[in-house]
Subunit: 213 residues, 2 copies
DNA sequence: GTCTATATTTAGATAGAC
DNA sequence: GTCTATCTAAATATAGAC
């Protein structure tokens, strides 16, 4: 059985590849670090052209304007981000699966500076471009929560009162941790161990927190 | 007893008021919606001048350049944000304090569009301006976690194994919820009830989740 | 102190050579 | 199809009138 969200993400990725062509991908590859590091308004088409190794006119033959290039790039990246974390299914006992999921999330989204910049970019533009942030959510956050919810719901040992709420607590805690520690540079002023956070988080979900002495 | 973080935040706010003057505040007030809605690179000094009701030259007599104006504004806002949520101390039993804290956070940061834009702005610029995101953390996230950690640690009923980790789970879950539902417009594609999330969150912390049937 | 007018640079987008 | 050269608008910042 293949999850429906996996099909959606793969379909989105192939959709973009087919519509753009080889040089179109070369342009997207050059535009990516520019937009990721400088944001939409801070990026010039001149710099994108130089970074992609083409002229400005070539940009405008593949994309109607700066907006089109930007939206195409973000949707392309959103479709790719999905495979990073949730490609492998969750199988096994919760006391081994939950820490493994947390570690997988941390090692993927918590160690790739490019992912930090992608989050910054999507959040930065979310006010003016709701459809981009929703594409990000649909391809990354939503399947993550859905996958974990299914696992928690179907896990016979746990028998949770509200699996989806628990999944959102789990994912939310880890994402928030990465956001504070890495994206917002909180590690330098208020460091906190990811392992310690995960341990307490897993303990709470498993319902094994210490009883009152 | 007054918490040390409260003193820091108040001191920062008064610091800015004294150094800028009355017309300086008028400029900041005009610049605020521009930067909040358009971001740093997307905001022009021309628009700021018009919004503040002064000429461009007046801007440059109060602030050396666009960068100076922006940094001053963000630090000014960061100093103000603190008072919104954590001005009142936490007293009472955890089964009533924890839901109250969650509701207070949701009603403050989850219902003010200006706060969404402020988060977007800080996160957007966090790559190039670590000191701004750290000012935001020091004035908002850090005292929030510290206040809740103190409460959880000193609460005789709970006797938690790791109060700070628990506080970070609590705050992280709610902030992540607001970020996904409101800032990134997830409510339109994957809505989830805040009350339901808080209920499960409080249940987990209190250690009252349902036992296996 | 504050504004009008301007200098200079750089942006997005296009025309035309090849 | 791709590049060079260019147009027009808008950006930051400043000079000089009042």
């Amino acid at each position: 059985m293949v999850d429906s969200h996996a099909l959606t993400a793969i379909a989105a990725a192939e959709f973009d590849r087919d519509r753009i062509g080889e040089k179109g991908q070369q342009i997207l590859l050059g535009a990516m670090p520019e937009f990721l590091q400088r944001g939409y308004a801070g990026t010039s088409m001149e710099r994108v052209a130089k970074a992609a190794g083409v002229s400005k006119q070539t940009l405008y033959s593949y994309f109607v304007d700066k907006d089109d290039l930007f939206v195409t790039l973000v949707k392309y990246l959103a479709a790719q981000q999905f495979q990073l974390v949730w490609s492998e299914p969750l199988v096994g006992a919760p006391d081994v699966v939950l820490p493994a999921v947390a570690r997988r999330m941390l090692s993927k989204i918590g160690s790739e500076p490019q992912y930090f910049d992608f989050c910054r970019l999507v959040i930065a533009e979310s006010g003016k471009r709701p459809e981009l942030s929703q594409a990000f959510l649909a391809n990354v956050a939503k399947p993550a929560i859905a996958t974990l919810t299914s696992y928690l719901r179907d896990c016979p040992i746990l028998n949770l009162a509200d699996p989806e709420a628990t999944a959102r607590i789990f994912v939310g805690t880890i994402v928030h941790h990465v956001l504070m520690q890495d994206v917002l540079h909180g590690a330098a002023i208020a460091p906190f161990s990811a392992d310690r956070l995960v341990e307490q988080l897993v303990t709470l979900v498993l319902g094994q927190q210490r009883p009152s002495s």
